[in-house]
């Protein structure tokens, strides 16, 4: 097992190096795109802990991102009793606020199994955009709130896009390490035991209520951090910044990345970004097929392609990218792990 640990650490270091050198090879605009992929990755890590490890389905993680984003917006513009908080310090606060909201949802979730939970969390995702409309004075209403533009602090010589890239991926790597550390220990084993059989887990002395609520809290914390970063990068929040469909896209990313695999989630995050913003490119590829002629700019293309990809992935590759990776590397890893 020592070898597995070494491999995982090496993989992490390789990822960190890749992240660090990336901006030198790509344009400023691409840095921004990669930064947004990083935000989806953070949110997916949270969802991975919840759905992949503890087996609770959430279709409402867009709402936790929205809570994070709105927290950052309010703190960095209105501030606490009139003193605006510097944007990067609002990130942990946004995470904690969203995490608390997650704990609140986690408590009724204890009594709701599988589908009921999916429905209730979906309901949260749908209800959330109504709140800014109702409490317009506080949350900015439909027109939203404008944030200050991000700027590299501490006299760092970085463009805003590079700064948000490094900030996002720095946080993403730390949170990846935290999730990895948490899940390989007793907490991860407890969560997986609950996922596989609640009855068996409870009879082995695992405190179901504690771990299931904890998973919700952690997961919402991650989503809140992602939402805070997203709000900073957009410099603007309104009910459409975190649309209902975002929650669905996150589930798509999780399914594509693979349940129960953390690194595979990067692929899921990249797919969410790519399909959301470059569906026209995919439409052009599809047009190479015989007898297909799609107008790449037509509305609806993005959604149709998203849906088709999702169905195909679930039918052909039910374990997602992470599962595919494991399958490819299995001959290698079995040899490494087997003691001769």
């Amino acid at each position: 097992m020592k070898l597995k640990l070494v491999l995982e650490i090496l993989g992490f270091v390789a990822l960190a190096v890749l992240v660090a050198v990336m901006p030198s090879f790509v344009s400023d605009f691409h840095s921004r795109e990669f930064a947004i992929v990083g935000m989806y990755f953070i949110a997916l890590l949270g969802l991975g802990v919840l759905t992949g490890y503890s087996g609770q389905i959430s279709l409402g993680h867009g709402a936790f991102m929205a809570i994070g984003g709105y927290t950052t917006a309010i703190l960095s513009v209105d501030g606490i009793s009139g003193h605006p908080v510097r944007d990067i310090w609002t990130i942990p606060i946004a995470g904690v606020v969203a995490g608390l909201a997650g704990l609140l949802v986690g408590v009724p979730a204890l009594r709701l199994s599988g589908l009921y939970l999916a429905l209730i969390t979906f309901g949260i995702a749908v209800s959330f955009p109504q709140l800014p409309k109702k409490f317009g004075g506080f949350l900015g209403g439909t027109s939203g709130q404008i944030l200050n533009l991000v700027k590299a602090p501490f006299g760092l010589d970085l463009t805003p896009n590079d700064w948000i890239y490094y900030l996002t991926w720095g946080i993403a790597l730390v949170l990846l390490a935290v999730a990895w550390w948490l899940l390989r220990g007793p907490t991860g084993r407890a969560l997986q035991a609950i996922r596989d059989s609640e009855v068996a887990a409870a009879s082995s002395g695992i405190n179901l209520a504690f771990y299931k609520t904890l998973a919700f809290g952690i997961s919402a914390f991650y989503a809140g951090v992602a939402g805070a970063l997203y709000a900073m990068a957009s410099a603007y929040v309104n009910p459409d910044t975190f649309p209902i469909i975002l929650s669905i896209y996150l589930v798509v990313g999780l399914a594509v990345g693979g349940l129960g695999s953390l690194a595979g989630l990067i692929a899921g995050a990249a797919l969410i970004y790519f399909l959301q913003n470059h569906a026209d490119t995919v439409a052009r590829w599809v047009n190479h097929l015989p007898a297909v002629d799609l107008n790449p700019k037509q509305p609806g293309i993005s959604s149709a392609i998203f849906g088709a990809v999702l169905i195909l992935v679930m039918l052909l590759l039910p374990t997602g990218a992470g599962g595919l990776l494991r399958k490819v590397f299995r001959p290698l890893t079995t040899r490494l792990y087997t003691r001769s």
Binding site: I57, L115, I120, V252, G307
Partner: protein, 300 residues
């Protein structure tokens, strides 16, 4: 905004509107329950399926067909489509986890929504229903013919289904397949095909709900999204595995939400949906099986 003075006439009108909303929720909730009972899965694509078939009806009527001649054609298309979807998309993952199937239905919802925008465009369209919107006097309260027509059509369909499940051999086989697949297979029921039939029937229910509500709201690709959520709420309210519960839950929810939206100023029209969800959340905490559902007790 002050709430206008309370009158019994208006209350009765709101009640009628609530029952009309409720009848639509009931139809869609019943569709969800039929699929849930046989496959233990919530079909997140139910709303988009309904809208899709309504668009087909719109196209047929645009080509000169009257509503009632398009109606059976659309139902046949919906039924075939529902069966085909089950055979092609759900059958291969029949034994997979709930999450896998839920994700496939979500994918189907996205796909259908996109296709509708591509084929018919995203703008609102007027859908001419079979019932006139003029009002008639029912015991001193003016109620529109359309509202009455919607309620009668929806409930007639539900009654027809109840008869089908209760008195035909096929209906019995479908119920058996849902309750105990293993034993049904042993006595010769083709369980897998019963699931496909369930999808077909659910698609028909959705199509009727779509064609009934389209004249009231405008027809666009997102028409059914909020309605589907209320239908979810209604199905959960009645208990996900109880068809009777779905119908009662639908009407109950429609009436409650309409009255709350009208008479509780804080809720108004913006917080109707959150209010509905809070309602079912509280109910689920008190009665985890819904009003009519059974809570599964597992032997370990």
């Amino acid at each position: 905004m002050a709430v206008a003075a309370f009158t019994w006439t208006e209350f009765a009108q709101q009640l009628a509107a609530g029952i009309r909303e409720g009848a639509i929720y009931a139809g869609l909730a019943l569709a969800l329950v039929i699929i849930y009972r046989s496959t233990r899965v919530i079909n997140f694509a139910q709303g988009e399926l309904a809208t899709f078939t309504t668009f087909i009806a719109w196209s047929l009527m645009n080509h000169g067909l009257s509503f009632w001649s398009a109606f059976p054609i659309v139902l046949a298309i919906a039924f075939t489509g529902g069966v085909a979807i089950e055979r092609i998309l759900i059958r291969p993952v029949e034994n997979a986890s709930v999450l896998t199937i839920v994700i496939i239905t979500l994918g189907l919802a996205l796909l259908l929504n996109g296709l509708m925008s591509i084929i018919w465009g995203g703008q609102n369209r007027q859908f001419h229903g079979p019932f006139s919107t003029r009002t008639i006097d029912v015991g001193g309260v003016p109620i529109s013919v359309q509202d009455i027509g919607i309620v009668v059509t929806s409930l007639a369909l539900v009654a027809l289904l109840a008869l089908f499940f209760r008195y035909t051999k096929l209906g019995l086989a479908m119920r058996a397949a849902a309750v105990n697949p293993a034993s049904s297979r042993l006595v010769g029921v083709r369980v897998s095909w019963m699931l496909a039939l369930g999808w077909g029937i659910a698609a028909v229910l959705g199509a009727v709900a779509g064609m009934m509500i389209a004249p009231v709201v405008f027809l666009d690709p997102n028409m059914m999204q909020t309605i589907l959520l209320y239908a979810f709420a209604a199905a959960v309210l009645g208990g996900l595995d109880s068809p009777l519960g779905a119908v009662v839950g639908g009407i109950l929810l429609g009436v409650t939400i309409t009255l709350l939206g009208r008479y509780v100023e804080f809720i108004g029209s913006t917080l109707k949906l959150p209010a509905a969800l809070l309602l079912i959340l509280v109910l689920l905490l008190v009665r985890p099986g819904g009003l009519f559902g059974k809570v599964a007790v597992r032997r370990v």
